[in-house]
Amino acid sequence: MSEVTLEIDGKKVTAEEGTTILEAARCAGIEIPTLCYHRALSPYGGCRICTVEIFRGRRSRLVTSCVYPAEDGLVVNTKSDNVIRDRKVLIELMLAKAPKAKAIQDLAREYGIKETRFKTEDPDNLCILCGMCARVCEERVGVSAINFVGRGVERDVKTPYQGTVDIDFDVCIACGSCASICPTGAIKLEDITAKKPAPILSEFEMGLDSRAPIYIPFPQAIPNVATLDRSQCVHFATGKCRICEEICGADAINFEQEDEVIEIEVGTIIVATGYDQFDPSVIPQYGYRRYDNVITGLEFERLSCAAGPTEGKILLKDGRQPESVALVHCVGSRDQNYHEYCSRVCCMYALKYAHLAKELAGADVYQFYIDMRCFGEGYEEFYKRCSEEGVNFIRGKVAKVTDEAITDEEKGKLIVVSEDTLLGKMVRVPVDMVVLCSALEARSDAEDVAKLLTINRRADGFFLERHVKLDPVATPTDGVFIAGCCEAPRDIPDTVAQAEATAGKALSLISKGTVTLEAAISTIDESICHGCGRCEEICTFSAPKVADKDGKLVSSINEALCKGCGSCAVVCPTGAVSIRHFTQDEILAQVSALTEAK
């Protein structure tokens, strides 16, 4: 595309042909005020505040720079007396139209206008009829839920037949683009649609904050790149928008990108798939999701984070600071109804939260515990420190959390009802916030992962190590190792130690470059094998494979995969499969010897 050269405020500016004066000026760093212009929308020339003076020979004209094309040899003045005078009149007119609009008031101040000479019709009006809302809805969202109605002085922005016909024309998708693009705050979503905008809850912030459809999953994400949520993106809903594509300076947006399966050949696999949090709403008496201020440990973690939704302030749902906080231990763990195992990390993080609630909110803290398990280095000391800070420890399992007050003191509070087993009586503790220390449980997709990698799971769903004491990071499948909470609930120091052990195990295999096979594994007598494939069907480790060999179907064993469990020998109809050191003849001989010996 050819280029044009023009002069703006005495500065030589080169721009691509077809760009407007406004764009050329902004590229050159020359600021021109605008109200109805947005780089994502088609230029409209509505507010005319971007008026500039152009000179051709001896003639000059006032034009709106947002629509006037940059032409070769054009001389532009953005701050001439004519321009300023023109803008001042425009600002006065808009000030009369929308006297309370902050964007107009700011402009008026900038141009030294104290009051308007024109008559104000509606002192509460904010709309300056810039049309950005209508344009974004039509051009970008592709819905056209609002547009201009009426002419002249009756011109207004409305939904189709708003209030005049009793038909539901509510095509709005409640995306909120119009309200967010409006320069004066005139557009309110509730005037346009009865639909409630549903914020997209941020997964990382545990739903305590919202996020955009295109977002970086969390700070320090690896890779630290944005991802697009197809289910929420307007482009995938209406085929329009694509604003992010235009705004992105790196040209990184790609709407056509699809999931792809990448195959990598490896010798070792480390499984570190983590855990799921037990959903405490399963225990109805604790009132999670029923009471606003009953939250989980992870939600409290986000509240206490300086980079979190409340910037590190411990706040109740109504924005107040809690005066008292109850921490309920063993929610879903050490409980025969849910998980019998100890979740291991909760005691310590509950102590951390107690400390934070005291420090950040100055709240009274009550810990409801079964046993305090402070097992690690420095943990007991921290427990002692929290006790000395005045945290109240109540030994007993919480029976219920309720808002039914029986005394004046309990009114408006959440009451934690529990037995104090040390006092031997029931206690009712009124608090503002209840934090449920929810159990760590095996991931919901652990079964699929286990099947995929032929590793085993314990009854509680976590992955099983080869030996609990002597081989704690290996699995029955050689070369597959497990680390972290996918194996059992564990805290950060333990996870790091285990991760390093796993990496070491993997490296020792890699640096060795060879694998030592089991001695007692399957062998196949090819002369009697029919190639029926029963061994292939029954094998958990996919060791036998039936293949054509010299025109005959026979099974063969992949010795690196075979573990020697012998199930193939049981199903083999011809006796072609046998296990070294445990052949059929050997065992039958043992059995005969034992029965005859009597």
């Binding site: 032929t454 590793i455 085993n456 799971r457 314990r458 009854a459 099983l464 080869r466 029955p476 007692a520 029954i538 958990t540 480790f541 573990k563 020697g564 469990c565 012998g566 199930s567 020998a569 049981v570 296990i579 445990f582 059929q584 065992i587 039958l588 043992q590 059995v591 005969s592 034992l594 029965t595 005859e596 009597k598």
Partner: protein, 142 residues
């Protein structure tokens, strides 16, 4: 006449029950000496032929013991074993052998005491059932 002492052949998985039997021994847990153990790598590798061979040889009871369901060194050996035992029971029924003569147990490596208990119970039951019908038939002509 001396009291009938049944003979039991136990197929024990290398990883769990064989270790449990070992543990019972080293912990000096007392249990009847009627059992003869055949070590196999996995309860899932016990071929029905071995069981039939044992009964053919005149043994009074067979025990197949291995790991618990989620504890298997080979992931799903016990499941395969359970399926095989179901089939064996049908065959033994046709042959006229009582159900109690074939016992299937899951004994973990730490359950030495339980192993001893299983053997005691089995011996008691077999004493009630009496000698294997195969043995009496074979011994009758003599």
């Amino acid at each position: 006449m001396a009291e009938f002492e049944p003979q039991i052949i136990a197929f024990c998985c290398n990883w769990c029950t064989y270790a449990a039997a070992d543990l019972a021994g080293t912990s000096r847990v007392q249990y009847p000496a009627n059992v003869r153990i055949v070590r196999v790598m996995c309860s899932g590798m016990v071929n029905p032929i071995y069981v039939l061979k044992a009964f053919e040889g005149g043994t009074d009871g067979v025990l197949i013991a291995g790991c618990h369901l989620s504890d298997c060194h080979y992931i799903d050996g016990p499941t395969k074993c359970d399926e095989a035992v179901e089939k064996m029971r049908k065959t033994l029924h046709v042959l006229g052998l009582e159900d109690g003569r074939l016992r299937r147990e899951m004994v973990a490596a730490s359950e030495g005491v339980f192993f001893a208990k299983v053997i005691r119970e089995m011996v008691e039951e077999l004493k009630k059932l009496g000698p294997s019908p195969f043995k009496t038939k074979m011994e009758a002509p003599a």
